[in-house]
Symmetry: C2
Subunit: 363 residues, 2 copies
């Protein structure tokens, strides 16, 4: 049987830097645990634009459709700020999500014990925090038509369309309930049903899907209140189900609660492939961080934990994922810190590659 | 000359309870400072629905158009959860905003010194916080057409439309820059220009208006990053300019940072009337709080501070507004606390009306 395949898209900014550490980890799993992958690498975002004039070449898209999992670094940067909307680095990422039909974006917001002091929030409010946000990723205002900037009378108007079908809501909801069954058995669905009809439909469908999971407690919250509750008392949540745009904002808010944005991975999952595993792309929650690019300061842990999620969801290697996660917990308890995990007056931080090496030693 | 006119719409839940305290304050200003108002009162939200079958009667709407300022309590509650969308309590509020054309919603997020310990955030991150969010309030996805739930093939689709014209963006932006001139001279505009064309237009127009205010430093931030930065380092902001939907979420998030949601007022301002003052409605940021309704637990300060904003923006009584705000600061430093401002094991809280009385004594 051939090895499972992995397409690596390092992208822009610190993407290539953190991905280099993941490469080391992948090699370690081959050498020490007999887990071999067919790894290929390609361009996305600004890097793809520089070479091909588009943020994702058709050949890259085709490869992404064929592999068992895609691992993406980050896209974007100031060099591309003035590009036309249609070729901006982000469009490469959005094309991958849409054409691979990765409708369920899993964004854990976890507070690592060793880092609880580092959050903006008081320690007792975040210590032990473990939320999973399920964000619908292929529809909503990100992709709805009509969209654009149009002439109207003697001025212009900017239009985007929020648009959700029942089946789109249903499959995202189902993935949230499935996850909740393996966690704390609570789903909180967030929308603005008091203002938006798309939110009314969202609430109705979430309720209907919830009936299939009588063990799971379903609640509903307006998204503005959700943002508030995330800051006030985040531990009330287990799984949060929400749409593409609210999910974008709420997951960033939740991620920041933990104080460890450089630590948070994500998985974007689609329908099952022939091998029974979902189509999947994994990426750190953080962006391309142009301010620290090329300085060896980036924290590779979010990207490494994204690979751990790949081990779990795409390669059926839950034990190996747990091994990698445990190694990371351990180096953190031992005090290993990249610059983002140190206060102003902290000790000397580890560089990106020193952190990668330290994790490998702990493995 | 006739007295300035004020229409009071207490609404639902704790709305009438907190408004009763504002009434006392208004009486105090008449008796002691010679400030007399023609006060009328009417129904909005569920209370209006109960009487008229609609969340805002046409006569009430007409009155609101005529007065110098409207003061609103809160709308909504579980009794109205199953009402049809078109008559939900919230529609009354949205109709007022839209027909009075109150395009600029000012939401201060201030951390009161005496309450800095009460925030979820570490004290040094929020102490002294003083942000003003300017939220566009009459357009965007709240009002854009087409909207609704439609049949499509053999399923339904929920649709809402995000829609901004240049002139809508322009007037909201201008009000943010005007405010910044009287504050810290910084505006941060938040949208999702990396994903939404309406955000591209937003950024372009904000930049153009900014050129008229060379003293004000303008920056742009994606709304997801904005949510993150609000939690990470909120003091970096002075004025935040954003659209209706992002503003809804970001302002709730910002409000919660201060730990004093029961403390935060808002002003919704429109175009100047014949007297030169803007059309205006004032309301607390908090909602109708059905869980504590009728128990005398509500904190009346947000509503009283909303009246202070009315004194400042509608009645040209900045000094009297400052007097009222100072009285509130003082009672807080003296330790006066309603239940929401006490931890679990706190001392006995003041009731709603005790808090009102205490503030009057301090005046
Ligand atoms: C880069 C951008 C297009 C993207 C999004 O808005 O989805 C990012 O913010 C994210 O959350 O993954
Ligand atoms: C009650 C609701 C319609 C309203 C809104 O969404 O604008 C509220 O959340 C607010 O922020 O004033």
């Amino acid at each position: 049987m051939s090895n499972p395949s992995l397409l690596i898209l390092p992208g822009d900014g610190i993407g290539p830097e953190v991905m280099a550490e993941v490469r080391k980890i992948i090699t370690w799993f081959g050498d020490n645990r007999g887990l071999h992958f067919d790894v290929s690498e390609d361009l996305v975002g600004g890097a793809a634009y520089d070479k091909h004039g588009v943020p994702l070449a058709d050949e890259t898209m085709a490869k992404a459709q064929e592999v068992d999992a895609v691992l993406l670094g980050a896209v974007g940067g100031p060099a591309y700020d003035d590009l036309d909307f249609s070729v901006k680095p982000e469009r490469g990422l959005l094309r991958l999500r849409k054409e691979m039909d990765l409708f369920s974006n899993l964004r854990p917001a976890q507070c690592f014990d060793a880092l609880a002091d580092f959050s903006s929030l008081k320690k007792d409010i975040v210590a032990g925090l473990d939320i999973m946000i399920v964000r619908e990723l292929t529809s909503g205002v990100y992709f709805g038509e009509p969209r654009g900037i149009f002439e109207e009378g003697n001025e212009r108007v900017g239009i985007n369309t929020q648009r959700y079908t029942e089946s789109e809501i249903e499959r995202a909801a189902r993935s949230a309930f499935e996850l909740a069954m393996r966690r704390g058995k609570k789903v909180c669905s967030m929308e603005k049903a008091n203002v938006m009809e798309s939110g009314i439909l969202w609430r109705e469908v979430a309720t209907r899907v919830g009936k299939e999971y009588p063990e799971v407690e379903l609640s509903h919250m307006y998204a503005d209140n959700g943002a508030m509750q995330l800051v006030r008392a985040p531990k009330q949540f287990d799984v949060i189900l929400t749409d593409n745009l609210f999910g974008d904002i709420l997951s960033d808010c939740a991620a920041m609660l933990t104080g460890s944005l450089g630590m948070l991975p994500s998985a974007s999952l689609g329908a099952p492939m022939a091998n029974g595993r979902p189509k999947a792309m994994y990426e750190p929650v953080h962006g391309s961080a142009p301010d620290i690019t090329g300085q060896g300061k980036a924290n590779p842990i979010a990207c490494i934990l994204s690979f751990a999620m790949a081990l779990r969801y795409s390669f059926d290697q839950g034990d190996e994922a747990a091994r990698l996660e445990a190694a990371i917990e351990q180096v953190l308890s031992n005090g290993a810190r990249t610059a983002d995990l140190l206060g102003e007056e902290g000790a000397t931080p580890l560089s990106t590659s020193e952190m990668g090496d330290t994790i490998i030693v702990a493995l």
